[in-house]
Symmetry: C2
Subunit: 255 residues, 2 copies
């Protein structure tokens, strides 16, 4: 197995994803939100490239069943049902619903991952389960760091590195690309100080300045979520739990 | 001052270098070789995009004064005077000469840096001096990691990170991009174990497999070279020494 980390979206156009398994990471906040949505019992998440595409895709589902969700420039979208804060994705709002989601970076990376043989979604809250998902792959693995408006985002690379570290432990024969090794070392640096990401990661500082400190708390922590949402045919489904739920699961799977 | 590290060449097309200062890093081996060439007393280095461009640019200089140099796929180019090993660049070969250099990654990054207001060349062997050069800039600084055939290369990011660490120490008010912060943390990890790069960096492993272990020894060490070769009008010149030469200078400046 070969393991690579695409450190930022500038690298996406050159990736050959066919025949590989892709893991999408957008810690702040899209993939954390997707995990939260499934933890709260949503039916599926449909990633859309922009607001117009989201409205179009929403039309495929009965009004009573679907929710329009996402952000533009970090802020909720007028007329949409939900923003991009994982804290909004509670069972009372999303249980059984189809969520059509558009965000600045994360949903774009999810759409890119659609070219892979298999795709899944990871954040710090399900990092253990996501590493298990990777270790179970029979194909080479590429982790896609969604980044921020085309740029490298520190928190995504750290999350990718924590996945790589666990994957290499589970599959010691796996060969890491230089970028995967760099992410791994970065993950090692921040593993014991994830709180520093709220200061050292630019997008975290911006979210904090916009009053989103609670989101940072929800996103910048290792969680015990046992689920790894999976991409299939342009839609994200719950996926099978790949780990037993832990006490700190926060993914509703023990409910 | 804002400090950014372009972690790989995939990012180069999106960089806005006008009005900024750019530092080019290609540790294995082009920028190490350029530093070695000036340490050995060469007159100038002319970066060329490919073999054809190198031959064309060589025509601008008297035959007795110039040397054609570089590599393709890591190997010397038939008919050229020098390869891309810093060990070849000794005073007896290069003193007073103009070296027209083409390499797979490094010279391409040098040509990209031509769009910046000022440009210079760094490797591990002159990392202290390069950080001083950056700290003396009045503009924002971008470090260009040349990478390997379009991909991220671990050793370049580590070198960039060691520059960033020293730059932030000298200019504590400087603001680091997420990528600069990541490189910094990566530099911290490898600073006390640069020898690990010969195992963990893919291109280093490949060079070793081709019998280039001596080159790795020459490139993967912190050196005391006090010079920072500078780009000006498509040509690299010696630049002023920005540090007093040290005992381990290895840059000929004490000779």
């Amino acid at each position: 197995m070969h393991v690579h980390v695409a450190l930022g979206p500038a690298e996406f156009p050159g990736l050959a994803l066919a025949g590989r398994s892709a893991l999408v990471v957008d810690v702040l906040r899209a993939t954390t939100t997707v995990v939260a949505a499934f933890a709260a019992g949503c039916r599926r998440v449909v990633p859309a490239g922009d607001v117009e595409a989201a409205r179009a895709r929403a039309g495929e589902f009965p009004v009573a069943e679907r929710l329009l969700a996402g952000e533009q420039g970090g802020e909720p979208i007028p007329g949409f049902d939900l923003g991009n804060s994982p804290l909004e994705y509670v069972p009372e709002r999303v249980h059984g619903r189809t969520i059509v989601l558009t965000t600045t970076n994360g949903t774009a990376a999810m759409l890119v991952a659609g070219a892979a043989a298999r795709g899944a979604v990871a954040a710090l809250v399900n990092v253990e389960a996501a590493a298990h998902w990777c270790a179970a792959q029979t194909r080479d693995v590429v982790v896609l760091c969604a980044g921020e408006k085309g740029d490298f985002a520190l928190e995504d690379a750290v999350c990718a590195g924590l996945v790589v570290e666990r994957l290499l432990a589970a599959r010691p024969e796996a060969v890491a690309s230089d970028a995967a090794t760099a992410a791994w070392r970065l993950g090692q640096h921040y593993a014991s100080r994830l709180d520093r990401l709220s200061v050292e990661a630019r997008w975290a500082r911006r979210l904090a300045a916009r009053g989103r400190a609670a989101d940072l708390q929800a996103c910048l922590r290792l969680g015990g979520a046992s689920l790894v949402p999976e991409l299939a045919g342009g839609v994200i489904e719950r996926g099978r739990a790949v780990l037993a739920a832990t006490a700190d699961a926060g993914d509703g799977s023990a409910a």
